[in-house]
């Protein structure tokens, strides 16, 4: 049931992506330029099955997760618990690889030996929600004894066959074979950047409600399922090279995640745009459209209007592709997000007004909390402040996603706009957007019940850039009034400092709030 629900969402996600790409002239590192929605219809010549798997050599364990999502519409509570079952790949050093989606908001993780049904508790050691990968380790160190760790199949290319591995309830292996049709940069569920992914044509039946599904080639781990659309029978997978990148980082004591450079770009196919940008010589490269402040590209001196012609020895063509030794033409962001590590210095060859230059960009990771409106928040409880029945929260995409799969149309439209254009609207960064999300009717909020989804600009005359700002400012009433200014109508609300103090306990009891605020 869980799994079916998930693939339904996956379908929507794919559809959303192509819609965005058509409507928005904003290709770049974060929004995708042209994720060709479907694999090419013509099947290449298929070599004899090379995916062939030998069940005994495959080391898989069941992973059972019980978790609870935080409820962003009632930030003081968690939603009803969920259970997810998955199949993890056993790796060296007693670790089990699963998708980050599986362990997101987990309360308890359990490993289960498929052949015996033995179980043990497990800890999540490393999780990366952007790359959608996580490592779990059994509390009983001997639990994985007798299972040969899987090696990575790093050599998968278009035309190869890979097998999706699932288990019957009996523990018997179910193998479905598919053909890798495309290797390209795709958006991952966290929607922050693009990573390398395989697109595989596969007619797969879900078994045993498995949430994470490993893919194998020649008995080695080729990838993990990212999403599957049963209608078009297209499966996207997190490829082994991304897993290898993740594992290499995970071996470090200080996990740093995947790097980014912090700019968006546009292809230079248009000769008139190239001429305008002053490009000389061979056509090619990408036009720098915008720069994130205080991110590597800006720090290295990159400017809007620069044309990036190469990174190192990899020349970038007018579509933004370089020639990858393994995959052929591939979007150049792969050189940044997948092939490089945080702290690496990448030599960017650029042309500025026709003059060639080199910029040495030192890559960093942009964490979700570095955004004004965080693109995802997992595991952490959302902050909130209740003032006399008015509920305040920091705007996050997680909050907007409470409107469901179609949140971009259903959620409060001004907030969706703020989220999408946050780097343009708040170029200085380093702040949050505080919003009043609902009114808990009480004496102090009498007559305010029509107001919701208001952006707070000031409280008691002080500018509000975080929930903490709001909590602090609320402690400084003016003439006994807490004055709240909002971007939207009604522009101003007032609360009585004494009244809300008197009413605090009854509001807490009446609405079952464990506390009137939670600041990180």
């Amino acid at each position: 049931m869980k799994t079916l629900l998930r693939c339904y969402f996956a379908t929507i996600f794919v559809a959303c992506l192509s819609g965005t790409a058509v409507a928005q002239p904003r290709p770049g590192t974060s929004p995708s330029p042209s994720p060709s929605a479907q694999p090419p219809p013509v099947a290449p010549v298929v070599p004899a099955s090379v995916a062939a798997v030998k069940p005994k050599e495959l080391s898989l364990v069941r992973v059972n997760v019980t978790g609870q999502q935080h409820d962003y519409t009632r930030p003081w509570q968690k939603k009803a618990p969920f259970q997810k079952r998955a199949l993890g790949a056993v790796l060296p050093k007693g670790r089990v690889l699963v998708t980050a989606d599986l362990v997101a908001n987990q309360n308890y993780v359990e490993l289960e030996r498929a052949e015996t049904g033995d179980k043990t508790g497990a800890e999540v050691r490393v999780v990366d929600y952007e790359a959608n990968l996580a490592l779990v380790e059994p509390t009983d160190k001997k639990f994985l004894d007798g299972l040969t760790p899987m090696q990575l199949a790093l050599d998968t290319v278009v035309g190869d066959r890979v097998a999706a591995l699932q288990l019957e309830p009996t523990g018997a292996l179910v193998v479905t074979e598919g053909l890798v049709t495309t290797v390209q940069m795709m958006r991952y569920p966290a929607e922050v950047s693009q990573f390398l992914a395989y697109r595989i044509s596969m007619s797969m039946q879900y078994r045993d409600n498995s949430y994470t599904i490993p893919l194998a080639k020649n008995n080695k781990l080729a990838g993990l399922l990212l999403r599957y659309d049963p209608r078009s029978q297209v499966l996207d997978a997190i490829p082994a090279p991304i897993i290898a990148h993740f594992l290499k980082e995970a071996d470090d004591r200080n996990y740093r995640g995947f790097p980014s450079a912090g700019f968006s770009f546009f292809p230079t196919r248009d000769p008139q745009l190239r001429k305008f940008a002053g490009q000389t010589g061979k056509p090619g490269g990408v036009y720098v459209m915008s720069l994130e402040p205080n991110m590597p590209a800006a720090k290295a001196g990159m400017q809007v209007g620069d044309i990036i012609t190469a990174i190192g020895n990899n020349e970038i063509d007018a579509n933004g592709n370089y020639v990858d030794p393994m995959y052929g033409k591939l979007e150049f962001t792969n050189l940044i997000t997948s092939r490089a590590y945080v702290g690496d210095t990448l030599p960017f060859q650029i042309q500025r007004a026709g003059k060639p230059m080199q910029l040495n960009v030192v890559l960093e990771r942009r964490a979700a909390e570095d955004y004004v409106i965080p693109p995802y928040v997992v595991d952490e409880a959302p902050g909130y402040v209740v003032l006399g029945g008015l509920v305040f929260q920091e705007l996050s995409r997680q909050f907007l996603k409470e409107w469901g799969g179609n949140w971009q149309k259903e959620a409060p439209q001004r907030f969706v706009y703020l989220d999408r254009f946050q780097s343009e609207l708040y170029p200085e960064g380093n702040r949050r957007v505080v919003v009043m999300t609902q009114v808990l009717p009480a004496n102090s909020t009498l007559g305010y019940d029509e107001f919701n989804y208001l952006q707070v600009t000031k409280v008691n005359g002080r500018e509000i850039k975080s929930l903490r700002d709001l909590a602090e400012a609320a402690k400084q009433p003016i003439d006994g009034f807490i004055k709240i200014e909002t971007h939207e109508d009604p522009k101003q609300l007032a609360l009585g400092a004494t009244q809300i103090a008197e009413e605090a306990q009854s509001i807490q009891e009446n609405y079952g709030l464990p506390a009137l605020q939670r600041l990180d």
Partner: protein, 515 residues
């Protein structure tokens, strides 16, 4: 906003969806017609006419074309001065109008005298002197009592001849007038069946017109909910046009909220009573700017105390505050008692129409404005444009939805959108710019379509179009644009490359010599 049947209840024969939607009510109509025969009202029947309109519906996706020809029918009735009153939506976009009446075989050509799209009323005239023979002008009554019986006359679906239905007055309230989709006025809900073709027909009580049937919910949304335009709105329209032209409704140009929270009232220095509303936003350039400010508390309007729930008492009835302004005309003044920074003061506001919000409503009797340059089609943002293109672009939808509330009109009085691209070698790489909003051309800010046309007309080697947002500029070589002009015009059958005036070409005069 309730979900209304968009085209009001004007019958459009080409719209089969509408036909099907209303076919359920046909059997009921027969009953009503039979009742009318049993109890004839000769005078009223002779004054009610059927109006057939031939409309040109502008095509916002090919704005150089004249548009699609559509036919529709509605009702109307004779009033004083030989004028026929009907709904604006019956005669909107019409290029040729004819009027018929019971027991007369002739079709009479007619012309529009006045049309008020903001209150869905129009006056038309038949030139032929023969036409008015045996017709008695109808006169107007007041607001009918709740539960009192009214009869609706018209030519709705279900037969060729006039139909009469009866019902009672169910509710008197402010309603959205769906013809413009942005105006709210008083409307009366009646339980009489009214259907496509009833539009513009009189609703009678005691021999007087108490309303004009104009809109309703379709049967799959709510059953038997129909609305008529009441006489205060009709009388205002007739008074407005008495000087020979229609000036539109006037508006204070503010948003306000109720003041029911005791603490908020105290913080604003209000007395412990139940008076006053809080001014939220004053629309820049509106009648109230600069006389009223955000944060003011309005206490009285023309000496009528404003209650904290925004109602005032007017002629013995509690009505919402804007009703005071509703009854006024362009240039009239309104007196407002207010509290600013806890100090009482009185301001007088000279009323005028509110313009920025017009883009969020439908336009009629206009020719779509556009500029075509290098195969790129630029058009000003409007509700009609949004409906024609159904854009998914978030920025564009934001500029439309929040045009007034975010005061986008200050920077962009017109939002110029690159709506479409007529593909040609010179614009072959420009598809990603579709749906973008023009911000600057060659360094000049673009605030209106005229600005855009002027910027393109200036001699330059290249035009550099900067869109709103982070995107790269769209660059065109002017020599190439010039070379492509005829090619694009021919290939896409474009009759004209720009239209900066919304005015329609004049209609030919209707023949006086016809029967």
């Amino acid at each position: 906003v309730p979900e209304f049947d968009f085209r009001g209840i004007c019958l459009i024969f080409s719209d089969f969806r509408l036909m099907r939607r209303f076919c359920l009510s046909i059997s009921l109509l027969f009953v009503a017609v039979a009742a009318a025969i049993a109890q004839p009202n000769g005078k009223v029947q002779q004054s009610v006419v059927r109006i057939s309109a031939n409309d040109l519906q502008p095509d916002y996706r090919a704005p150089w074309n004249a548009g699609a020809l559509q036919r529709g029918t509605g009702a109307g009735f004779l009033i004083d001065g030989g004028r026929i009153m009907t709904n604006a939506h019956v005669v909107s976009n019409s290029r040729y109008l004819t009027v018929e009446r019971e027991n007369d075989p002739n079709k009479y050509p007619a012309r529009v005298l006045f049309v008020a799209h903001d209150c869905d009323l129009a006056l038309i005239e038949v030139a032929s002197p023969e036409f008015q023979k045996n017709m008695v002008p109808l006169t107007f009554g007041g607001i009918p009592e709740l539960e009192s019986t009214v009869s609706a006359y018209g030519y709705p679906i279900g037969g060729q001849r006039m139909s009469v239905t009866t019902g009672i007055v169910s509710r008197i309230d402010f309603q959205l007038y769906t013809h413009s989709a942005i105006d709210q006025h008083l409307a009366i809900q009646i339980s009489a069946q009214i259907n496509p073709g009833n539009s513009g027909g009189p609703v009678m009580q005691n021999g007087k017109v108490v309303g004009v049937a104009f809109q309703g919910y379709s049967g799959d949304v709510a059953q038997g909910v129909a609305y008529m335009i009441p006489t205060p709105v009709i009388n205002r329209f007739l008074k407005d046009v008495s000087d020979g032209r229609y000036d539109r409704y006037v508006d204070l140009g503010i948003t306000y909220s109720k003041l029911q929270n005791p603490v908020q009232r105290r913080s604003l220095g209000l007395a412990e009573d139940d008076r006053g509303v809080l001014v939220n936003t004053v629309i820049a350039g509106s009648a109230s700017d600069p006389h009223i400010k955000s944060g003011d508390v309005l206490l009285a309007i023309d000496d009528h105390p404003i209650a904290s729930d925004s109602f005032v008492e007017l002629e013995g009835a509690r009505v919402e505050m804007p009703e005071v302004v509703e009854r006024k005309f362009k240039g009239d003044k309104v007196k407002l008692d207010l509290l600013r920074d806890k100090k009482p003061m009185t301001v007088t506001v000279e009323l005028g129409p509110l313009l920025p919000y017009l883009i969020q409503g439908h336009s009629y009797d206009v020719r779509p404005r556009f500029v075509l340059y290098g195969g790129l089609l630029f058009q000003p943002l409007s509700l009609d444009l949004m409906q024609a293109y159904q854009p998914q672009d978030l920025r564009l939808r934001h500029y439309f939805d929040f045009f007034v509330s975010e005061q986008i009109y200050l920077e962009h009085p017109e939002v110029i959108v690159l709506t479409n691209i007529l593909a040609d070698p010179i614009n072959t790489y420009h598809a990603p710019y579709r749906g973008s909003i023009v911000n600057e051309i060659n360094g000049q800010k673009i605030r209106t379509l005229d600005d855009l046309a002027k910027a393109f007309a200036q001699p330059a080697e290249q035009v550099v179009i900067r869109m709103v947002g982070d995107g790269p500029p769209l660059v065109l070589d002017t020599k190439e644009v010039e070379a492509a002009r005829e090619r694009i015009k021919t290939r896409y059958n474009v009759s004209r490359e720009q239209n900066l005036s919304a005015e329609l070409p004049p209609k030919p005069a209707v023949g006086q010599d016809q029967p």
